[in-house]
Subunit: 339 residues, 2 copies
DNA sequence: ACGAAACACTAAATCGTATTAGTAGCTCGG
DNA sequence: CCGAGCTACTAATACGATTTAGTGTTTCGT
């Protein structure tokens, strides 16, 4: 900036004024143009470190994720957060704390927050790769921060999560609307917030239509493709198997597809299936296309960053609606399949 | 730091010395402990902005990606880069420039680099979500930088890409080793660096075993699941269909699976398939498991960051070996299937 | 007992910006 | 012709670290 000042024959103050507040700085047009000219010839570029130091504001946000690598949701959340940040002129400093089952996960998380605070970020998004209740590192309290796809035990921090209950309710009602009454629910044995809420939504939807939930139709397992295959096998061995299945995620649904195929059971004619996630590369591409609940990861990422940047100070908690993506895996129940 | 100095009854210089170079600063143990004590009680944390300003080094690297959202590879590359950065005590400032077919992509890319330079990053990784030749923004020259999964037209910048030719060669040889000679190659019509190299690797592998490439077995289409389905249909309509197919990616391979299933063709007994990518959620989960070439995205991400941090100055170009992941989609050719 | 070397520190400059408090020079009303 | 007010600027400071160049006090060899 001093170079520019010298080149334009003015003081550094004037350059700063012209660059930041040209309107009401009281610097005449002629001088402004001279300064702008000098900026170009010198090839000047703002040094945001110095700026940040003076303003105690870095226009940079931290994003700590527990496991980018294995999660197919990470993309969408990061993208949503990044988009919101970019539009507001902020950049995202991303740290990946690594798989959450590692013994040192807690300390890595603390170290990540520490690094971000040392770099004076204006706020921090702490993102979980699946919806759960966490115990956030205390240092987070020193800066504006938001929990993404997670809630604090005591709800002391702002957070945004999908509305799991409502989504499961919608998915189940969708099957009920197609005439199904023997609707199974394939859930996960992984202890987190989501499966409990979805199970509740599923049960309530049934009850509200006068269908008594049958414990035999609630199967638990590992929510991936082989797990889904295995759970579906169990359901098919029941004396009266379900005519429809609501799966914990699209991978499990893909397993259900495979088990059905192995038994010569046609989808959707003999069996209707609803998934969860709208997983890229699976949901739309499987045959027939999988009807599924889309988690609003992108919107959640956006919300988290927007929340960081708004003025309000008391913690707020958002539950985001999930969208039902209709494809071809659900059919009206037929007499043949219910017999 | 001044607060710490006051609390410990020393000068701010002493605090800095104790914190940064305790060994040979010539400050006696007693004083050091007093300072460290004060650091704790005051709750001091380094302000890296000030530090960066003094040292003209931010310990922060930029990572600009062209489209995080839709790419399943982004995860792995970001994770690899992030891991390498974290281990070296650096953090990653990530910018997503958005889909690359948008008309303003170029200007968004320039703006991203500009933002990173204003924030004084020590280096920039420019990542493409699929291997191609690009024209990097000129401003990149102002800082250490590396192209990830991309090359500059004139090779003026360091870059790291997968060894596509060798990978295709390996995949094809793997099928040849199983006795196949009518080996098809399903490629993409998307113009980028990868398909050309893979086609060359495929052809050369055949030639080296005395098999003349048959143009009818080289099919082009859209490399996703429906596209793979359609390309497989075309191959099956040939008078002598292939006994094995090498697919451009796992999605196309999944399409091939579907087409085969629709025609009652068994994999691997009637048809062997090799994919590309080792796509999460697909390759391992499809039945039978898909044998595929795994792209070293994680290692490439690491390499890019390591390259940014090493001393050397002249551009270097790395080609990374891809790994063959053997599953169950390839069988020895039988008389029945070759008839 | 005296000068030199070692010890234990510290004052001050610097990095690049934003901002506050001025300061010359001019205009203009009375 | 004087001073108030405006115009067009600028000097100096602060942000929080690192680092250079000292400075005052001991220790030690002779």
């Amino acid at each position: 900036m001093n170079d520019v000042a010298r080149a334009a024959g003015v003081s550094q103050t004037t350059v700063s004024l012209v660059l930041n507040d040209p309107e009401n700085s009281g610097i005449p047009q002629a001088t402004q143009e001279r300064v702008l000219e000098a900026v170009k010839t010198v090839g000047y570029r703002t040094n945001r470190l110095a700026r940040a130091m003076r303003l105690s504001r870095t226009d940079t946000l931290g994003f700590v994720a527990d496991d980018i690598a294995t999660s197919p949701y990470a993309n969408r959340m990061i993208k949503g957060a990044q988009d919101a940040a970019w539009e507001a002129g902020r950049l995202l400093l991303i740290v990946n704390t690594g798989a959450l089952d590692r013994p040192d996960h807690g300390s890595r998380e603390r170290a990540a927050v520490e690094q971000l605070l040392e770099r004076q970020v204006d706020g921090i998004v702490l993102a979980a790769m699946f919806h759960r209740v966490i115990d956030p590192p205390p240092a987070l309290a020193e800066v504006r921060s938001v929990l993404l796809d997670a809630r604090a035990e005591d709800d002391s921090m702002s957070s945004v999560v999908p509305d799991e209950y409502e989504a499961a309710h919608t998915a189940t009602r969708y099957l009920l609307d197609h005439g199904h009454t023997r609707i199974a629910h394939m859930t996960t044995n992984y202890p987190s917030a989501a499966p409990k809420l979805r199970l509740a939504g599923y049960r309530d939807a049934l009850l509200q239509r006068g269908v008594t939930p049958d414990p035999k139709l609630e199967v638990t397992g590992i929510s991936n493709t082989p797990g889904g295959r295995e759970m579906m096998e169990r359901l098919l061995r029941l004396s009266t198997p379900p005519t429809a299945v609501f799966c914990y995620n699209d991978q499990a649904a893909m397993g259900a597809y495979q088990a059905a195929a192995a038994h010569g059971i046609g989808i959707p004619d003999d069996l209707s299936i609803v998934g969860f996630d709208d997983q890229e590369l699976i949901a739309a591409d499987v045959v027939p296309g999988l009807s599924t609940m889309k988690l609003p990861h992108h919107e959640m990422g956006r919300w988290a960053v927007d929340r960081l940047l708004d003025e309000s100070d008391e913690p707020t908690h958002a539950r985001m609606r999930c969208e039902l993506i209709e494809r071809d895996s659900v059919a009206r129940v037929t007499d043949a399949s219910s017999s």
